[in-house]
């Protein structure tokens, strides 16, 4: 206090002296006199909104002590009967607008408002309770927002802005509609909130509470070590992460040690965690054979049992086979088709898609040396991904290691030189999108080209009558070139289906690329023309077919249906037996499904225009050929997600006995069962699918539904015929 002028005043009959500029509230506090408050916190600028700290200074009106500076000779009464009556009224008014008991009061009994109300002897306020709920916001993975418990004290706003300098929270509305808002009144989980937890810590009520750790336990054991928040904050990647958050989420991140040779995660397994390597090296690979399912025995035209086997690309080249050399996985590297093995080291993060979107593990990761990792749940990964330090590190790692192979993995960009990629390395932007977020909108100016790094993107166009889905894109796919090539606006809307990260190449870099590499321009233009043709075909289908029960059953999505004429079918199951015979006893057809007119739409791959089976494949192995037929590539890991996603149950998993290296006995092999996804392949090696060929009653047929049902749907007659 030395050096500052002192102000003398009287508080509750006690003479005190405080430095000039001290508020009456602090003056009382420094002298052991407590004044109740709700909106004031010591580490925040006082704003005097709750008025609970009012004191009587013998003026015309009471004054809010937190914002009123102490004045010389001031006589302050903090607890007179009138002051206490005023406070009581204020508390009743606040309680009338506060959902009681709020979450905080229920869990820890320390809601500041309800505590003060109880101390003041307020059981039920005299004023009418609010009759319309202000709602909740549970979009954030770590913080729950209950607007009904909010008393608009603004502590969270000041915590977010003044203390953390994130400036996400603000006020919105007026009067009865006033409230707190995140960014432009967006859901918290979609705003720029970094989930530091400061607002939650600042909140005096249960308006902002911790959602807590999810139910998934990260296990225990000698190789698992709980990590204290203090220890985590010592790690460079956790720099800037709120210690409060880490304390409240203790157990959501653990340290795991793996000995050389230990499997960290296996391809195809479902999980909910991501791994960050602190030290050591790990080997990431796909152990499922690089081969697709092929029906064999067709050369023996008359006799000989058909069987299903595995064939590699070199042995069985399929029409429009992908020339893809790189297999996209859920790690900062892609795997080479010819040798699907890569190395991960310190500061590498893998398992993001599994953690954020609960996809199956895309590859097997085995410790090459003794390894220490952090295994974390989604709420921690979410915070890490929003943390500037961590993001910068991930970006740097991606640019150094994966950008090159990622760009080259796209066949169109195979000609890019090392110099050009080096020049792109620092100018590209890695951008994240939350599920449902629009990346670019139809009609907006085209300003960038995008390469999908993780996640799935839906490409759609708006038309009278609704939205038409044109494609689903996954890692390695790209979009945005049409608008840039044509120098026009976006022709479609691209939306993140799950947690998506894209590599954004600005328009200038894109133009530089196509000027420097005319071959790329030609390839992009060719792809653009194919897509435009496909889209036109698709749209012509939509405009020509009336939408009734045909549409309701999704039949319009199908390009090829297996129909059973129920007026001819004797239900003998010869078709099912034939399909099973043609595929090693595993049928790809079920004589069950929806009906349209007197036809049964059997459960068999429909070659949908909107292939939901493609969404979520962790290795991008189920895709569409240029002929719009769905193809399953050699690197299918047999996780079964496509089978789950197909709404018609048309994908099956076919088990195969294969021999693989035995990791526990080097140099030796062991037999294991591996699965590959299969769907109807139309018995390509024969002139006719086996199910149709084997039907004795001419009831089974493969048709193009739009043509076959054209007559029934009132279209031009004479079109309905077998395809």
């Amino acid at each position: 206090m030395s050096g500052a002028a002192l102000v003398e005043l009287t508080i509750d009959g006690k003479r005190v002296a405080v430095p000039a500029g001290t508020s009456v509230f602090d003056a009382a506090r420094l002298n052991g006199i407590a004044i109740p408050t709700l909106c004031h916190q010591q580490n925040e600028t006082p704003v005097g909104v709750c008025r609970l700290c009012v004191v009587d200074v013998n003026a015309r009106v009471f004054t809010a002590s937190c914002v009123r500076p102490a004045e010389p000779g001031m006589v302050v009464n903090t607890a007179s009967e009138k002051v206490q009556r005023a406070r009581r009224t204020l508390l009743e008014m606040l309680m009338a607008d506060h959902l009681s008991p709020c979450a905080r009061q229920q869990h820890s009994g320390d809601c500041e408002l309800e505590t003060l109300a109880k101390q003041a002897g307020i059981a039920e306020p005299r004023y009418a309770k609010r009759n319309a709920s202000r709602g909740k916001d549970n979009s954030s993975v770590s913080i729950a927002v209950d607007f009904d418990a909010c008393i608009l004290c603004d502590r969270c706003i000041r915590g977010c802005g003044e203390i953390r300098e994130n400036f996400v929270l603000g006020r919105m509305g007026k009067g009865g509609t006033a409230g707190i808002a995140f960014d432009d009144n967006e859901p918290m989980g979609e705003s720029s909130c970094v989930s530091c937890g400061e607002c939650m810590v600042s909140c005096p009520t249960g308006a902002l509470t911790n959602r807590g750790v999810t139910a998934t336990a990260l296990g225990s054991g000698p190789d698992v070590q709980q990590v204290s928040p203090e220890r985590l904050q010592e790690l460079p990647v956790f720099k800037g992460v709120s210690g409060t958050f880490l304390s409240l989420n203790r157990g959501a991140v653990v340290q795991r040690r793996f000995r050389a040779g230990d499997v960290i995660c296996s391809e195809g397994e479902y999980g909910s965690t991501a791994f960050y390597i602190l030290d050591g090296k790990a080997r990431v690979s796909i152990s499922t054979p690089m081969a697709h399912v092929k029906t064999q025995g067709a050369l023996k035209k008359f006799i000989g049992k058909l069987s299903s086997g595995l064939a590699q690309r070199q042995q069985d080249r399929r029409e429009e086979e992908a020339d893809q050399r790189w297999i996209p996985i859920d790690a900062p590297v892609d795997l080479n088709y010819d040798n699907p093995v890569a190395e991960l080291g310190p500061d590498d993060l893998f398992g993001e898609m599994t953690c954020m979107s609960l996809y199956p593990r895309s590859a097997t990761v085995r410790a090459e040396t003794d390894c220490t990792t952090l295994e974390m749940l989604r709420n921690v990964l979410d915070i890490m991904q929003r943390n500037k330090t961590f993001r910068a590190q991930l970006d740097k790692s991606y640019r150094r290691r994966a950008l090159d192979s990622h760009l080259r993995s796209v066949p169109v960009f195979a000609e890019l030189t090392d110099d050009f990629i080096a020049s792109l390395r620092e100018s590209v932007e890695l951008v994240r999108y939350s599920p449902g977020q629009v990346i670019c909108k139809q009609g907006d100016p085209a300003e960038a080209f995008y390469l999908v790094r993780i996640g799935f993107v839906k490409v759609s166009q708006a038309h009278p009558g609704g939205e038409i889905v044109l494609a689903y894109l996954s890692r390695g796919d790209y979009f945005g070139e049409t608008g840039l090539l044509l120098g026009d606006v976006r022709t479609a809307t691209c939306t993140a289906l799950d947690h998506v990260e894209v590599v954004r190449i600005g328009a200038d870099d894109f133009r530089r690329m196509i000027e420097q590499f005319p071959v790329i321009r030609q390839k992009l233009e060719a792809v653009e023309q194919e897509r435009a043709l496909m889209n036109r075909q698709r749209l012509s289908v939509l405009h020509s077919v009336p939408l009734d029960s045909f549409l309701a059953q999704g039949l319009m999505e199908a390009q090829s249906l297996l129909l059973l004429d129920l007026n001819s079918c004797t239900r003998c199951d010869a078709c099912v037996r034939a399909c099973a015979d043609a595929h090693d006893g595993i049928t790809r057809l079920v004589r069950e499904g929806l009906r349209f007119d007197h036809y049964l739409v059997a459960t068999s791959c429909r070659q949908c225009l909107d292939p939901l089976c493609m969404v979520g494949c962790p290795v991008g192995s189920i895709r569409r050929r240029n002929s719009l037929e769905v193809i399953i590539e050699d690197w299918c890991i047999g996780c079964g997600l496509c089978a789950e996603n197909c709404p018609y149950g048309n994908i099956n998993l076919h088990p195969f006995n294969v021999t693989v290296d035995d990791p526990e006995r080097p140099g030796r092999k062991k037999a294991v069962m591996k699965q590959k996804a299969t769907s109807c392949d139309l018995c390509k090696d024969f002139a006719e699918p086996s199910c149709v060929y084997a039907c004795p009653h001419d009831a089974a047929r493969r048709v193009d539904p739009r043509r076959f049902f054209a007559g029934l749907l009132g279209q031009a007659p004479g079109i309905a015929r077998k395809v």
């Binding site: 004797t570 006719e688 086996s690 004795p696 009653h697």
Partner: protein
């Protein structure tokens, strides 16, 4: 199998073969001293051709066992089975000269008549019944799954009925008004009792009787009346549940109908196939004995 215009070629060919055979038989029969005999050249020819047609018809079973072998479409084999099998009857009669002959040949002829008659019966059944099934069983499932579906219906009905008391109890609690909880429960149980009793006495027996006829619920009209009567005894909150139980009964009726039609569609094969094999076997015996001895 739908016998429609797509059979025209087979029909025409069969008619031609029959016409030619008849044109050969009539003068042959008229001018044969002692009448037409199976052992004569023409008689033998008729016998061989007739047997060949029967053998081809019999190979359909074998063909169906190798559905993937590219030996001609199953549909062609089926049509051949139908028309050539039918033709084998007049040709065999022409071979036999319309005489029964000895015990073996008598048995053979009668077997042939029964097999062809059962085949024609089956063809008619398989022409009409699929359409009947399509119309009358909109909720059709795979025949082998009927028992499993039935179990699911029973489980769903049990759940609905168990939930009825709880729902009624909740309604009463909300109505409240100073009535004690114990009394409220008693009232709830009483009002759901009608539903519970109906379910226990009538509906569950219907669902679990394995297809046996039920005096009330087997018929859609009497079932509808029964459920309407039940609704009058129940509070409004339970009407939707009653409707769902009614829908479950309708599904069971459809399963029963499907089962019946399925047996008609395929049951005749239990006679047709074994008799066909017996016919072929005895035919071989007859051929060997007749030619050798």
């Amino acid at each position: 199998m739908h016998i429609d215009h797509t059979h025209r070629k087979w029909f025409t060919a069969s008619l031609v073969i029959f016409g030619v055979a008849t044109a050969v038989y009539v003068p042959y029969a008229a001018h044969s001293p002692g009448g037409p005999r199976g052992g004569s050249t023409i008689g033998l020819a008729f016998g061989i051709i007739g047997s060949a047609f029967m053998a081809f018809a019999g190979l359909l079973s074998a063909r169906k066992n190798v559905p993937v072998w590219r030996l001609g479409r199953a549909q062609s084999w089926m049509r051949g089975h139908l028309w050539l099998g039918l033709l084998s009857l007049p040709l065999t009669f022409y071979h036999a000269g319309f005489r029964l002959g000895g015990p073996l040949t008598s048995v053979l002829l009668w077997l042939l008549i029964i097999v062809v008659a059962s085949g024609v019966f089956g063809a008619v059944i398989q022409h009409y019944l699929p359409r009947v099934m399509t119309l009358q069983v909109p909720g059709e499932t795979i025949f082998e799954q009927i028992d499993h579906v039935r179990e699911q219906l029973v489980a769903e009905a049990d759940r609905l009925v168990d939930g009825a008391e709880t729902a009624e109890g909740t309604r009463r609690d909300k109505a409240g008004g100073g009535v004690s909880l114990a009394m409220q429960s008693e009232v709830a149980v009483d009002e759901a009792a009608a539903l519970r009793n109906f379910y226990a006495r009538e509906m569950r027996a219907f669902l679990t009787s394995g297809g046996k006829r039920h005096p009330v619920l087997s018929d859609a009209d009497t079932a509808r009346s029964a459920f309407e009567g039940l609704r009058t005894l129940l509070p409004a909150e339970l009407h939707e549940m009653t409707q769902r139980l009614g829908a479950i009964c309708e599904e069971e009726r459809q399963l029963r109908r499907e089962s019946r039609i399925h047996h008609w569609l395929h049951g005749w094969l239990m006679m047709h196939i074994p008799l066909s094999f017996a016919l072929l076997l005895l035919g071989c015996v007859h051929a060997i004995t007749a030619l050798r001895y």
